[in-house]
């Protein structure tokens, strides 16, 4: 990644991190205000008109505050991704955050995404790499899959630790035209990012899906910054 690109990504990250902090304050005010309404309703001597409807609406507000809080927490972590260029990364955690933030793209295509963790004895799955590039590669792989997946299909992302490498597998529950992946619009991008990480992305016809193999240490010439 060139210096101007790193600067641009850092800029987006910094602004986004600041905004997520403000959004948490917005949610906190909504949370306290709706909570105060619930408190006052509970204290009322007589049952107020529309009591049940208000309670239902307030419960809905609290549920949405929780939903927003989860999304903002993930977005905040995502925004801090470019803070350090190359570092030791827990790939399972990074994949989990990215998939959570990518669910909307899957929902629009009526498909689903999930990350299946390996057994605890095989965790953590760590690699020293550029986290932005890892997440870009994973997202490019997800986009390739989304471009070909039929409604109702499910993509399972799993990670495995190998000697000097990590495998990231994107596999389908149902039939999938894996042979068409090479023609997907984002396939060259995926190939390019995987290569810059010192690894490779290939079609896995057996599962079927995509297999990314990434080194646990950065290629020569890439250093911590």
């Amino acid at each position: 990644m060139t210096l101007p690109q790193q600067t641009e990504i850092a800029f987006f990250g910094r602004i986004t991190a600041g905004v997520t902090h403000e959004l948490k304050n917005v949610l906190a005010i909504i949370n306290e205000s709706s909570g105060l309404m619930q408190d006052l309703m509970a204290l009322a001597k007589e049952t107020p008109a529309y009591h049940d409807r208000f309670q239902k609406a307030l419960t809905s507000i609290r549920g949405q505050v929780q939903r927003g809080q989860n999304l903002i927490a993930r977005l905040n972590q995502f925004a801090h991704t470019p803070d350090i260029s190359v570092r030791a990364v827990d790939l399972l955690e990074a994949a989990g955050h990215l998939v959570a933030l990518s669910q909307r793209f899957a929902t629009l295509k009526n498909v689903s995404l999930k990350v299946v963790p390996p057994p605890p004895a095989e965790q953590p799955i760590q690699a020293t790499l550029n986290l932005v590039q890892f997440q870009m590669a994973l997202f490019a792989a997800i986009e390739c899959w989304l471009s070909l997946a039929a409604p109702g299909n499910e993509l399972t992302i799993s990670l495995a630790r190998k000697e000097h490498a990590c495998e990231v597998s994107l596999a389908c529950e149902k039939s999938f035209p894996a042979g068409d992946l090479a023609a997907a619009e984002k396939w060259p991008l995926l190939q390019g990012i995987a290569a810059s990480l010192g690894g490779a992305a290939e079609i896995d016809a057996r599962k079927p899906g995509i297999l990314m193999i990434l080194p646990t240490k950065p290629p020569l010439g890439v250093s911590n910054e």
Binding site: E22, I29, E32, L40
Partner: protein
């Protein structure tokens, strides 16, 4: 029940006044400050038993308030309540003596329990 002297510190006025009102409804009256300077002035005037403190504020930020309060009034128990969830901030706050580190938005009953626990801790230490 012994009255707990609570000081809430946050630059979001709408948040802090609503929180104060909800605590009042639970028989936990409080004072509030809208920035670090005010927090230090109110602490100097009458040190609280428990301070609920935001980290990101204009002027003297929450971490600096925590540092000064724990230095000058070590008996004050400080609960951090922030939207800023970085692990390094939590580590720093705890190393400076924060009693608890909570993230916004927080459940009022959870906050109330932490305030009471912090107060009990203060009594047990005195």
């Amino acid at each position: 029940m012994t009255k707990i002297n609570i000081l809430l510190v946050d630059d979001e006025e709408e948040f802090i006044t609503t929180l104060a009102e909800r605590l009042q409804l639970r028989n936990l009256p409080s004072r509030y400050a809208l920035n670090g300077d005010q927090a230090l002035q109110l602490t100097a005037a009458a040190p609280p038993d428990v301070m609920v403190l935001d980290l990101k504020m204009p002027g003297i930020d929450g971490m600096e308030v925590l540092k000064r309060v724990k230095k000058d009034y070590p008996q004050v128990e400080v609960i951090i309540l922030t939207g800023h969830g970085a692990a390094k901030d939590e580590d720093e706050a705890r190393s400076l003596g924060a009693f608890e580190y909570l993230k916004k938005p927080v459940d009022i009953d959870e906050l109330t329990q932490h305030i009471q626990r912090a107060f009990q801790h203060k009594i047990s230490m005195s």
